[in-house]
Symmetry: C2
Subunit: 205 residues, 2 copies
DNA sequence: CCGGTTGCTGTCTATATATACAGTACAGGG
DNA sequence: CCCTGTACTGTATATATAGACAGCAACCGG
């Protein structure tokens, strides 16, 4: 059952109020906004909207109007990590350029932060210079996964491969050479695994 | 001036209530949650939090507590369009698989919907099979832009090039041939331009 | 023509809520 | 030692708000 034009207008008003004021409107506020002289007109609309499943009324609570669609909770705020300075943790405040809100459901694994990828070494995996890699923070990786690794204070994104005590970090671009690491002689820290890629395309040209 | 432990706890409770209930708590609800026997205790905390700038009180309005940081508003809900059937508009309800909430600020141009890309024809532009293309709906395109085009009821993603009355849709993969269209003899509809790419990486392997 | 739905007005009431005052207790700085 | 700030209790009140009843008018399908 779809909404009437009037009901849609009232639904939109409620949604807009929640978005701009941060709180749902009262019956009186709805009435005022639409010129009703009785708050009960708003009450009737609310009941109709609830019956059609467009909204959820909490009953007994002031401003107790909920949009069921929004019940999924706000999407996670992911910090965007730019260049990581040598020797400091990847999520140090000074690396965080800003926050983006990205729907969790977009990725099968929940990401913890976004890392801006520099260079062309993962080009053939469809990860280009400037792309944002959604990263799940974990100290372990399985072969074939795209990992964020730190070798001697350098943070790099590569495909992970392991052969006993030897780890190989494979670029996806023939112009770059694989990095071989003997765990017994060199330090390697897995900062996380890539769970998604985000790219902004230039709308100009 | 930073918050005391008690004030921080109350602030956290307010933030959590807004996130889970969709509406801010009343003084009484705060008092109940913390075991205060008087709602005035909550009132005092709210005033302290407001004085320190952590919250904003609306005054005279029930549940009128706002978190200044959250004023940014909810990110847009973008419909995900799967395969588009021949002859029907791209945003027809039956094509929409689900909705994702993606931060507008992620892309320089505001997208209108997400389109699942099929095939490898744009591989060298870093757009792989299964990727989601964030599309801004517009009937016009400039050379060099990645466009969503419809030719004879087929929807395709290619790079746009124009040479007078001849339009070329260029793949980014040497295994595919460019599509040449003479606008005087063939129909071409630009459905939109690509403003971003989203990819889910398989966390398994 | 009837019965249902939409879309309101006017009036009313119980309760939810914001907000106040007076007072207690404790802690830290000057 | 006084003063200011934190952290409450207990009581109180004005107002904000949800939610109800009765009724009117217009429309629409059977």
């Amino acid at each position: 059952m779809s909404l009437t034009a009037r009901q849609q207008a009232i639904f939109d008003y409620i949604a807009e109020t929640i978005a701009t004021q941060g709180t749902a409107p009262t019956r009186s506020e709805i009435a005022r906004a639409f010129g009703f002289r009785s708050p009960y007109a708003a009450e009737c609309h609310l009941k109709a909207l609830e019956k059609k499943g467009a909204i959820e009324l909490l009953g007994g609570t002031s401003r107790g109007i909920r949009l069921p669609g929004a019940a999924r909770g706000a999407p996670a705020e992911l910090p965007l990590v730019g260049r990581v300075a040598a020797g400091s943790p990847i999520l140090a405040t000074e690396h965080i350029e800003r926050h983006y809100r990205v729907d969790d459901a977009l990725f099968r694994a929940r990401p913890d932060y976004l890392l801006r990828v520099h260079g062309e070494s993962m080009r053939d995996a469809g990860i280009l210079d400037g792309d944002l890699l959604a990263v799940r923070q974990t100290p372990e990786a399985r072969p074939g996964q795209i990992v964020v690794a730190r070798i001697e204070d350098e943070v790099t994104v590569k495909r992970f491969a392991q052969d006993g005590p030897k780890v190989r970090l494979l670029p996806e671009n023939p112009d770059f050479a694989p990095i071989e690491i003997d765990l017994e002689r060199q330090d390697l820290a897995i900062e996380g695994i890539g769970v998604g890629v985000l790219r902004d395309l230039d709308p100009q040209a």
